[in-house]
């Protein structure tokens, strides 16, 4: 186990190192640097001004040199400043990450809590009215574009009924209920969209497991249906679902761009988009690396979960 963890951590660090250069280079290769954008809004900027600003921002150096400079300071613990926001990268990143984790984490928990019983229930009664109903809801969730759903929710619950604010977040120090009010619509949007996929995975995995010999054996031994499903089948059915959930773990921190934009929720999705479009190297790089690191962590946790869910799986060795 220890050897497995060490290997995975080393692998993850290597992936992060490669990703950091790839992301940096890709952003750097996009046409138009920050000074170009300044020139386009300032007709009085001369070539000398532009050159001075390029030197000031270090943009006159070749991309590999800029990367190495960044890496040198980053390894020393200084992740630099955001060019767009003029603040230390982490000062910009953490509030956005906090907002995203609150939004996506709540939606993720809700989605999993609803999808597992719903998917399991549908799998236990295949081709029944319940199953068709769940499938209909799931496909609707998968098919509905999140921006459309978000706008519909705003129109119904904000414009017409006036129950919830149409967007934004509560001001600092607002009562807890007020803060919840701002969360309801964005959380509902993400939850509805993701329940569909999750419940489909649970359903198909559960149907597969319910066909296994050991389930038949359990039933033959007189175990009731509830016990068979929740005790024997669900745990095994969760293995492929955990893989999907692990991949979603990265999204918990990288945000949902469309939902955040429509609800004006200042989270990571919007921040990453703005930093890439605004050529904010430091911010984009660190934000994307965070998302990568957390996806890798999610996968590591998933591997550990496999062993917990199925004792036949031995981490770092051959399966029994």
């Amino acid at each position: 186990m220890r050897w497995f963890l060490l290997t995975r951590i080393i692998q993850s660090l290597l992936v992060l190192a490669v990703m950091s250069f790839v992301i940096y280079a890709l952003i750097g290769l996009m046409p138009g640097d920050p000074i170009d954008l300044m020139i386009s809004s300032n007709p009085n900027m001369t070539a000398a001004d532009a050159a001075a600003l390029r030197q000031l921002f270090g943009l006159d150096l070749p991309i590999y040199q800029r990367y190495l400079n960044w890496l040198g300071t980053a390894l020393g613990g200084d992740l630099g400043y955001s060019r767009l926001f003029g603040q230390p990268v982490l000062d910009v990143l953490f509030p956005a990450m906090k907002n995203t984790v609150i939004l996506m984490g709540t939606a993720f928990i809700l989605s999993v809590c609803i999808a597992i019983p719903v998917g399991t229930f549908a799998a236990s009664k295949p081709r029944s009215a319940v199953d068709y109903g769940v499938n209909l809801f799931a496909f609707a969730g998968i098919s509905i574009p999140s921006f459309w759903l978000a706008l519909m929710l705003i129109i119904i619950f904000s414009v017409f009924l006036g129950w919830f604010p149409a967007g934004g977040i509560a001001v600092d120090g607002a009562p807890f209920l007020e803060q919840i009010k701002y969360m309801v619509l964005p959380v509902a949007t993400i939850t509805i969209v993701s329940i569909g996929g999750h419940s489909r995975y649970v359903r198909s995995s559960m149907i597969e497991v319910l066909r296994q010999d050991y389930i038949r054996t359990a039933r033959a031994k007189g175990a009731d249906n509830k016990r068979v499903i929740w005790k024997h089948a669900l745990r095994n059915a969760m293995i492929p679902v955990v893989t999907i959930l692990a991949l979603d773990f990265g999204f918990l921190f990288s945000g949902a761009l469309i939902t955040e934009t429509i609800y004006s929720w200042p989270g990571m999705g919007k921040l990453i988009f703005d930093s890439v479009m605004g050529n904010d190297f430091n911010l984009a790089l660190v934000a994307l690396l965070f998302a990568t690191a957390l996806t890798l962590t999610g996968n590591l946790l998933a591997d550990i979960c496999y062993a917990w869910l199925d004792p036949r799986i031995v981490i770092g060795g051959d399966s029994k």
């Binding site: 996009m30 046409p31 138009g32 640097d33 170009d36 954008l37 300044m38 020139i39 386009s40 809004s41 300032n42 007709p43 009085n44 900027m45 001369t46 070539a47 001004d49 532009a50 050159a51 001075a52 600003l53 000031l56 400043y81 767009l84 926001f85 003029g86 603040q87 230390p88 910009v92 509030p95 956005a96 921006f147 978000a150 519909m152 705003i154 129109i155 119904i156 904000s158 414009v159 017409f160 006036g162 604010p165 149409a166 967007g167 934004g168 977040i169 001001v171 600092d172 934009t261 429509i262 609800y263 004006s264 929720w265 200042p266 919007k270 921040l271 703005d274 479009m277 605004g278 050529n279």
Partner: protein, 580 residues
């Protein structure tokens, strides 16, 4: 078989009817709902508390930095109008006035004096006086110390201040006393007394940060690190709360030296998606949509058709000049007759009436008809297919095959037009132009790019082969040096500086531009303005399209907001806004 419904069936029917009605009503899609709309007017447009002295404004962009002299962007100008004031400003009549000075300096009143620079060239010394009672939000008096400090920061290239040209032009600053200072300019131009991009900085807060490390100043400034520090602001409002990317809350500045504003609290909310912006407005989450940074004209027109009665919608034509830059190095477009034929072949007025409900006036040159320097004595191009055809014939494009003209060498009259991808209005204009020009035998090909590629590379490095459709935003009596002077053609040699993307090089035009800059008396420079516009309209280095208006969507109860139509936003007069 019975047709009677079960209670569940009835319930489902009622539910379906209710849901349908709900959606129809919310979407405003039915004319039958007009009376309902009127009933709901008060709910959706009045503030939650009828006596509320709060105002919630929606706009599309969150300012990246709040430092007044580093990076320029419209969102920041909008907020800055509430929290700070420039030394001078253009008013609603597009005339220069004092904003943070007592009297506008002129040569006539003796506050501006012609002089020689140390190099012996003509210069001018301009003296300004700050209001005696001006002070920062923490009560510290605003004095010439703050002006001196702002000048130091602006002059130091390590800080990356915007408008370096202005700080170069001001080669010396003399502090006369606590309230009076003189700027010495190294060039005599008619706009010598414009100091619109110069904001004092709170020396008592910022100097120590600046002196610690000038290079790091732009990062460590309190304008980024602690924007709710009241000592950073001296306008009618101070920033009291903010969430990066989401909202800024402004409350009254107890130390504001001017007229007390009506609203106790103003919240500006950044809502990037315009459909969400509309929904926020309809739900009452915001009270108004800022014209400077709000809905596009077509979106506003659509909004007006659905909810117009509930709001006071103002369309203010301004200085946003929608136009097509022509690559004059393209052999087809190098011929003036082709450019003129194209403009005759574009029915811009029809477009204005059909798409923009007549709200987007057709442009004749780059000088707005609202500008005092606009000339009537210029060539105009109303739609005239016959003239367009004749000009193309005369230019040698006589052979029409499959509806497309060809020249004697058999080459087709094919031109590419580029613009910003994703801008629905521009894409629509392109398609209409394509159809209209097809009518006179021109094969217009559309190729669009992401804005950052289009502006960052294609236009800047003049990589568009034919036409580039975009907009410029100007100021009143804006001298078109950077866009029309021959020294402003971007090339690899000059590191692509300048914005003369068409690459027009016309000595007469250059002289007229220089004459406009140097003539201090308006009547004397007016003939040169006319020359510029005449050459522009005759040579057509740029095909003028429209003057794009800003759409202000305001509640009926809001009074005193008067759009300016230029870059100085309406918030510069926020102390005059009130509830009916």
């Amino acid at each position: 078989m019975s047709h009677s419904q079960s209670p569940h069936g009835k319930f489902r029917s009622y539910l379906a009817i209710a849901a349908t009605a709900l959606l129809l009503n919310a979407c405003g899609g039915s004319n039958d709902k007009v009376s309902d709309d009127k009933q709901s007017t008060d709910k959706s447009t009045a503030p939650a508390n009828a006596s509320s002295k709060e105002l919630n404004i929606g706009f599309t962009q969150y300012p990246s930095t709040m430092h007044p002299n580093i990076e320029s962007m419209v969102a920041k100008s909008y907020i800055r109008g509430m929290t700070a004031r420039a030394i001078t400003i253009f008013n609603h009549d597009w005339e220069l006035q004092c904003s943070l000075c007592v009297e506008l300096p002129t040569i006539e009143n003796g506050m501006a004096v012609l002089e020689q620079t140390p190099e012996g060239t003509p210069g001018i010394a301009v003296t300004y006086e700050l209001p005696a009672n001006a002070s920062w939000g923490d009560g510290t008096p605003l004095t010439t110390k703050d002006i001196q400090f702002a000048y130091e920061v602006g002059r130091n290239q390590k800080t990356g201040a915007n408008n370096m040209e202005m700080y170069r032009r001001i080669y010396q600053l003399d502090i006369l006393d606590q309230h009076r200072f003189t700027v010495h300019l190294n060039k005599v131009t008619f706009n010598y007394n414009v100091l619109g991009d110069f904001y004092p900085l709170p020396e008592h807060i910022e100097r120590s940060i600046y002196e610690e490390d000038a290079y790091e100043y732009r990062h460590r400034t309190q304008y980024n690190a602690n924007i709710t520090n009241p000592g950073l602001w001296f306008g009618p409002y101070i920033v009291s709360d903010a969430a990066q990317g989401s909202f800024l809350v402004m409350t009254k500045n107890p130390h504001w030296h001017g007229k007390a504003p009506y609203f106790e609290k103003i919240t500006t909310k950044a809502i990037g998606n315009t459909s969400a912006m509309e929904a926020n407005l309809l739900s009452g989450t915001i009270d108004m949509i800022a014209g400077e940074l709000g809905l596009q004209l077509d979106q506003s027109l659509a909004f007006e058709s659905r909810h117009g009665s509930k709001y006071n919608i103002i369309y203010k034509p301004g200085l946003q000049y929608e136009h097509i830059d022509v690559n004059l190095e393209n052999p087809i477009l190098a011929n003036k007759q082709v450019r003129q034929a194209m403009l005759y072949g574009m029915d811009r007025e029809e477009m204005n009436q059909r798409i923009f409900s007549g709200r987007q006036p057709v442009a004749d040159t780059s000088v707005s008809p609202m500008d005092r320097s606009a000339s009537d004595n210029i060539r105009r191009y109303s739609y005239n297919k016959d003239k367009a055809m004749a000009l193309l014939d005369s230019a040698g494009w006589t052979d029409i095959r499959d509806g497309i003209r060809h020249n004697a060498a058999g080459e087709p009259l094919k031109i590419e037009i580029m613009s910003t991808a994703g801008n629905k209005t521009r894409e629509l204009i392109q398609q209409i132009l394509q159809s209209q020009l097809k009518d006179i035998g021109i094969d217009l090909r559309i190729r669009n790019e992401a804005p950052r590629v289009f502006f960052g590379q294609t236009t800047r490095e003049r990589r568009f082969s034919g036409l580039a459709l975009f907009a410029w935003v100007g100021a009143p009596e804006n001298v078109p040096r950077s866009t029309l002077h021959s020294t402003e053609i971007p090339t690899a040699e000059n590191n692509y500086s300048g914005q003369n993307y068409s690459s027009i090089s016309n000595p007469q035009l250059d002289s007229a531009i220089e004459a406009v800059e140097q003539n201090l008396v308006f009547a004397d420079r007016l003939p040169h303005w006319e020359t510029i516009q005449q050459i522009y309209a005759e040579e057509l280095p740029v095909l003028p399209l429209f003057w794009r208006p800003n759409s202000f969507i305001l509640p009926h109860w809001l009074k005193g907001l008067e759009p300016t139509g230029h870059l100085d936003s309406s918030t510069n007069w926020i102390e005059y806004w009130s509830r009916d």
